[in-house]
Amino acid sequence: MKDYIIRTQNLGFTYDDGDENSSSEIPALSGVDINIERGEYVAILGHNGSGKSTLAKLLNLILTPTVGKIYIDGKDITSDDFTEDDVFEMRSKIGMVFQNPDNQLVATIVEEDVAFGPENLGLPREEIRRRVDSSLELVGMSDYARHAPHKLSGGQKQRVAIAGIIAMKPRVIIFDESTAMLDPQGRHEVVDIMERLNKDEGITVINITHYMEEAARADRVIVINDGKIALDGTPREVFANVDKLRSMGLEAPQGNELILELKHAGLNIKGESLTESECIETLFKFLS
């Protein structure tokens, strides 16, 4: 029996748009079965409106599933006897970082913002202090502890937001398009932190994104299309399906695209092409 931290069964969700007459209610998510093991690094890829953000909101009970079950750490969070206190405890285990860094910072001073979560958990002051300091250190923002958040760059703000989540010591952190509004440098910083959290701290990381470069760095990629799971596997397996990804409005890494185009043009190339060096080797072997 594997150790699943998140498990969903036949999960589905339909937005209630308040229009009673609308018969064309398309579910945002349907029949989703996902098992995520403790300590995994998973990317969830999908175009805008594919249902990937709905999934994130369900896992944290911001939305309640229309059908199906969700188990967090073995507990059924969709059952009727899941009380408000249980929700509170569950949220302390599953942290969430959102898209717009501005809209998740609460306090006017960086360290007070990081302290917000631990304060809500009712921890003793000395413990809060320890957690704030170590979290800021982990994201490399210790020097900015007494700064005002609105003067930071987008990437820095997002790192503060991440510190605020880490300080709650969650088992899982879900990044809901957390890099979409950042410049390339900010994106690098945030993805580096994701990887560090996963490898060094053993936190399960779920990165919801539409950037395939980011997805390619995860251990596992789940592609969601029209509310359903379309592909699920290692990046190598998933990105081999270039045509399928394109039909879903996504892209594969340029190397994969190039090799596929060459195959379409009649060349008989074999080999891996997910990373830059793999692509070079494959082409070099073929051309020399």
Partner: protein, 286 residues
Amino acid sequence: MISDITLGQFFPGKSPIHRLDPRTKIILATIFIVAVFLASNPATFLLLAITTVVLIGISRISMKVILKSIKPLVFILLFTAILNILMTKGDSAPLLSFWVIEIYTEGVARAVMMALRVIILIVGTSILLTYTTSPISLTDGLESLLSPLKLIRIPVHTFAMMMSIALRFIPTLVEETEKIMNAQKSRGADFTSGSLVKRAKALIPLLVPLFVSSFKRAEELATAMECRCYRGDKNRTKLVKLQYKGIDFVFTFIFALIFGGVICLNIIPYKFDSFGLIYDIIFYKV
């Protein structure tokens, strides 16, 4: 650019006044305000004026800043002073009299005291509160001082949280306003010319997007706060706890003495006489 404006006129520093607990400062400011309103003779005003000058000295806020804060008041001060001088009738013979105008010593005295009262009030409370206390610690101080009101079910924590979130988002909104203004200017919108009605109408393309995005921000922030386990002040602890220190007691003691002084000085009856006001202020003997 408008995003450069500083909020609440707070000047960070390390002076003894900066280091006072915000609750102490709120209490001291209250004592100070009451004392200023009780003051009724030159001696008490002298005491309060000295107190204010000493406060300025301790806080190390520059005189320039203080003068700047009084500047907008100059017109009102002059206006009320002139009214006081012209309208007050005294018992003795007028100091000056020409045409229908008669100026009495009492009028001049009243005008000067009125002006002094306003200036001392503004400068004193600014030094104690806004100049030396960050808005956020002011909010913390208020929350702590008002916490007994929780017993009668007034949601003090909620109000304080609302205030601090407002403070957090003001710079963001200022920035956003500038951005939307530039975007609409790029579509030929004109915010600065035309009649009042036209200008008011020109604000719609600015205000609608601002409201829409504020609501969106509010919603997202609420979600983010919930995800960080916020549920009001139930079981909540704080990273920074307000604590009274020695300096708070020293200041409170001194202010108590000053307040006592004001009350004692006020008891001494005072009547304007022919020596004139300046003489009074300088040579008044207790």
